[in-house]
Structure formats: structure tokens, C-alpha cells
Symmetry: C2
Subunit: 97 residues, 2 copies
Amino acid sequence: MIRHIVLFTWADDATDEQKATVAAELGKLPGVIPELRAYTVGPDAGINEGNHEFAVVADFDSVDDYLVYRDHPRHQAVIAEHIKPIVAARAAVQLSL
Amino acid sequence: MIRHIVLFTWADDATDEQKATVAAELGKLPGVIPELRAYTVGPDAGINEGNHEFAVVADFDSVDDYLVYRDHPRHQAVIAEHIKPIVAARAAVQLSL
């Protein structure tokens, strides 16, 4: 299994509507990318100080399936239209499990 | 469910043995902290450039269970003795699912 993890911090001038749109648009991807085996997406819960603001954890059966997701036009459109305009910091890891 | 996610980048002078010890010591925690429902720990798979080097994803039934893990002496000992000496960057989110 491949577990893809990415954390974002948003720009100071990002609006609540822009942040909510990222979650909503990513949430549509399991319906169009069947390679996604599990997908958890959402804002930080506010328990600790100093965290990033938003997380994506996506599970796949294989590296090839992860690459389908990574390079999928619908996913790339969400990145270009909704994430890149408001991202201030990004941290990612892919775990091989 | 609470999903705790943390990504690390290690210091340039961190040794392979030090990095492996972090994984090994964290891997012992499910045996001593029964609140851990699922625990995936390991190095980045090397698929993409620019990633952090190591990830922890820990699932709990509740915020209280996560706090038991966060503040557990055995976990704090791994942080103090094995992670802090070699960490260069850390990124974290807790997702409420």
C-alpha cells in the first residue's frame, strides 16, 4: 500500500470560502479516481499550536495507482485553481506500507 | 476519530542508524499505548522530490485518547532521546474525522 500525506498552511489572506472550496473539490475526487482506496481530507482540529492548517491522507494499492491520482487532470485542476492560489507552505511524504 | 499526522525532515548530519532508531522506537508504542487504534510510521518512499523524510499517522477513537498518546512518558522519551536530536523540520495536523 502507498499512503500519500500532504499538509498545507494557507496564506494569511486566504478566505474561509477559499479554504472550504479546497476541501469540497478534493472531496469529489474519490468519485472520479477509483484508484483512491481511502481518502481523508480536512482542516486541523485546533488541538495544538504551530500546526499546519489542512491535511490530505490518500491510500492506494500501488505506486502506479498513486501516480494516476497525482497526475489526474481533475486533481491537477484542483491544485491549479484552488490550492496554489492560497498555499503558503506544503509538506508531503509518501509511505510504502 | 482523531487522525494525528506528523512529518519530519532530519538534520544533514543525522545517521542512518539514528533514523532507523526513531522508526524502531516509535514502532514499540502500540504495545504500550493501547489507545493507538492504527499506527503507520516510516521513511518517505522516494517517489517525489522535495518531500519531508519521515511520517507518522496515528488514529485514535477520541481527542482524549490522542492526548494520552501525545503526553505518554514513553512517547515523550522517544521524542526527547531520538527525535529532537536529529530533527530539522516538523509539520503536523490533527484531523477530526
